[in-house]
């Protein structure tokens, strides 16, 4: 049913439709509305689950780990400092191959303190072994949240659904919330192959010597690569039921014959899509929905025929440069005629990404490729010696 909902409210309802057994979370802006909405659903008797209001994000992640291992669907959400505080547990969940779902309401990381949106938090845990899916709008946030549970449980891998803080979480958008019956048809009851059960006692989380460690890591990597097939399959199954696709690994918009492409993650995609339509610009917009696993082949396909690729990202590695940019460049090197890659960090700590950005980006492709630059740095705001 089409309705206008705030992103957080829509995500909470999507989670509830998945019938989680345990939800654990700790408040942090801009994730708070998600858990507050879930708490309200529980209080109203609309969602029957154990809601564990923990004393920290470290514990939130630990509670869902324990719950999922003991046999129930489990969900948590966080952002920024919370994601970093969880980091140790995130690696642990992934290494144990426990299928939980987490919403990251993307926010900058302190210092300097900022509650506003960028992707430094989820990028900081990109190597933790979680699947990471980015959402371009709130419809995608709803659909991806529901798909995430099926993905996680199929692959026994945790899934992080990345949703831009404020830009999506606090924005009212018209969207379709699926019916309970649709979700029930799509998402089978929770199952975990190594469930902790006194009738069938298993030991989880053992000490692994160098004889086996490499193989366990290999198996994890393989499972992540298998997700490259399963992510589009799950999206296709969702499309069969609802008629909506989120693009699978990568979504492409714009003319096939375009020579210039822009690769981005999250809500900036929506801004660029509007700008492209307004200017009727001949650019291909590429949304990297799956950042982990990194869809090398799909990206190569999407970039076939491009001469210029602009990679826009909302985080970077100080002293090195773009994160997505470096990975995209490496992937495209394998093409016979790789596009030139221009890599920019934009929208840091909530800096607005206006419609006019498209025009300025396109202008930038006229000169030598920028290996990496932070877009729109206003040097006049810095003391002389820092410029």
């Amino acid at each position: 049913m089409r309705q206008a909902l705030e992103g957080s409210q829509a995500i909470a309802q999507a989670v509830a439709l998945c019938r989680p057994g345990v939800v654990a979370a700790y408040p942090i802006t801009p994730q708070t509305h998600i858990v507050e909405n879930l708490a309200k659903l529980v209080a109203d008797g609309k969602l029957k689950c154990e809601l564990v209001s923990v004393e920290s994000e470290h514990s939130a992640a630990s509670v869902v780990l324990g719950a999922a291992a003991a046999g129930v669907r489990a969900y948590t959400a966080s952002a920024s400092q919370g994601i970093l505080l969880m980091a140790e547990v995130l690696y642990n969940i992934a290494g144990l191959r426990v299928p939980v779902v987490l919403t990251c309401a993307n926010r900058a990381v302190s210092a300097p303190l900022s509650i506003w949106n960028d992707h430094q938090d989820s990028m900081a845990v990109r190597d933790s072994g979680w699947i990471q899916l980015y959402c371009a709008d709130n419809q995608q946030a709803v659909d991806t949240t529901i798909q995430a549970f099926r993905l996680a449980e199929t692959l026994e891998l945790p899934v992080m659904v990345c949703v831009d803080g404020f830009v999506l979480t606090h924005t009212l958008e018209p969207l379709d919330l699926p019916e309970q019956a649709q979700v029930d048809a799509f998402l089978p009851p929770y199952r975990f192959s190594r469930v902790l059960d006194p009738h069938h006692p298993l030991t989880l989380g053992t000490l692994v010597s160098p004889d086996d460690y490499t193989e366990v890591r290999y198996a994890h990597h393989r499972a992540m690569l298998r997700a490259l097939d399963v992510i589009p399959e799950v999206d296709a199954a969702w499309q069969q039921i609802t008629g909506r696709s989120t693009g699978g690994l990568i979504a492409v918009e714009g003319p096939e014959e375009a020579r210039v492409g822009i690769l981005t993650l999250g809500s900036v995609f929506g801004t660029l899509a509007d700008a492209r339509q307004l200017a009727d610009a001949p650019v291909k917009l590429i949304h990297l929905r799956s950042f982990r696993p990194f869809p090398v082949a799909a990206l190569q396909r999407a970039c076939q025929g491009l001469t210029e690729l602009i990679v826009l990202e909302r985080a970077f590695s100080p002293g090195a440069g773009g994160i997505v940019g470096a990975e995209a460049r490496a992937a495209l090197m394998e093409l016979e005629h790789p596009p030139r890659v221009h890599n920019f960090a934009v929208g840091l700590g909530g800096r607005d990404v206006p419609l006019e950005i498209l025009e300025r980006l396109l202008a930038a492709t006229g000169s030598e490729p920028t290996r990496f630059a932070i877009f729109d740095v206003d040097l006049s705001r810095l003391p002389e010696e820092e410029r």
């Binding site: 057994g21 345990v22 324990g66 003991a70």
Partner: protein, 328 residues
């Protein structure tokens, strides 16, 4: 690793004494924790799910692909055991299962790094029995001081030397902190008194809600005594008053194990290398000894440990007697 479906009833019949922790693990000779964990599970039975913190107990029982556990068991990290156990419990509850969630952690995982998660577990009243296996130091990483290391004990990070006489700070009074969470049951126990220990486990498991057991478990390697003396050392800790065996309900002391023969702390300390420096000919060492004796005396007064008259129920040692409450 192959496992086999077997009913709990069948399991109980096959093993008159349930062994949740099997022999063949890799603990040191005389490891107090190994003994303690075996007894805890003997009392708790098979219908449990265990969350275990990083530490010796975790490491010596689960070198992949082996496991000494006959109960479902999950090790996640060092400091999150309280939270993992809370997750287990929430999931068991949602599924309507009868199994009880247990949390096992060392003193480092309890007093120090895992304290926040433990406090949260107690405050939120999860139905979990949390067992702290207290060997008074970070033993897994090679005997470093913890918040539980007793005053004046030497560890690798609180060594005894010319300028310092071991740990400068006091052992944290964890039970008092636990008690201030108003939980229904908290107790101390020792591997020297197995029947008392097991009774306390059963007592705790009768309660729905968080319960806490603080188990004193000597570590021959870290404490510097012969492995054959672990039980003796543990007994002396109790008999000197340094580790009183007490039970608390909702923050009130409701039972203590009385001491018929109170031993001087020196009897306990001199068996252990970690206190060896206190027996040097040095006035500061003598002062520390007096200090430790005063701590023991304080416990004896505060908890009224002196068994001033023979207890009719006291046939053997002090280990089966409780004041004011029935025997299990």
């Amino acid at each position: 690793m192959s496992t086999q479906e077997i009913s709990l009833e069948e399991l109980r019949q096959r093993q008159s004494r349930f062994r949740g922790l099997e022999a063949g693990h890799r603990a040191c000779l005389g490891c107090g924790q190994a003994l303690a964990a075996r007894w805890v599970l003997e009392a708790a039975g098979p219908d449990v799910v265990v969350a275990n913190a990083t530490g010796c107990l975790e490491v010596f029982t689960t070198p992949w692909p082996e496991s000494a556990w006959r109960v479902p068991w999950l090790h996640s990290l060092f400091e999150n055991t309280g939270a993992v156990a809370a997750g287990l419990e929430a999931a068991l509850k949602v599924q309507g299962k009868t199994a009880k969630a247990l949390a096992f952690a060392g003193d480092g995982g309890t007093f120090d790094i895992g304290f926040q998660a433990l406090s949260g577990l107690l405050e939120r009243e999860h139905d979990v029995l949390y067992v702290c296996y207290d060997n008074e130091g970070y033993m897994n990483t090679g005997v470093q001081r913890s918040g539980s290391t007793p005053h004046a004990a030497a560890t690798t990070t609180s060594p005894a030397g010319r300028a310092r006489l071991g740990k400068r700070h006091l052992k944290k009074d964890i039970l008092a902190i636990i008690a201030s969470h108003h939980i229904a049951y908290a107790a101390t126990a020792s591997i020297a008194y197995p029947e008392d220990l097991k009774r306390k486990v059963r007592q705790a498991l009768l309660i729905t809600g968080p319960t806490f057991l603080h188990l004193h478990a000597p570590c021959p390697l870290g404490w510097g005594h012969d492995g054959s003396l672990s039980v003796e050392v543990a007994r002396l800790a109790v008999q000197t008053g340094l580790f009183p065996l007490i039970e608390m309900e909702r923050g009130q002391v409701i039972g203590v194990m009385p001491l018929r023969t109170i031993r001087p702390v020196a009897d306990y300390l001199k068996l252990q290398g970690r206190f060896g420096h206190l027996f040097r000919d040095d006035p500061r060492a003598r002062e520390e000894l007096e200090h430790l004796q005063a701590l023991a005396d304080h416990n004896i007064e505060v908890f009224n440990l002196r068994a001033d008259r023979p207890d009719p129920a006291d046939s053997e040692g002090a280990d089966t007697v409780r004041r004011g409450r029935r025997r299990f």
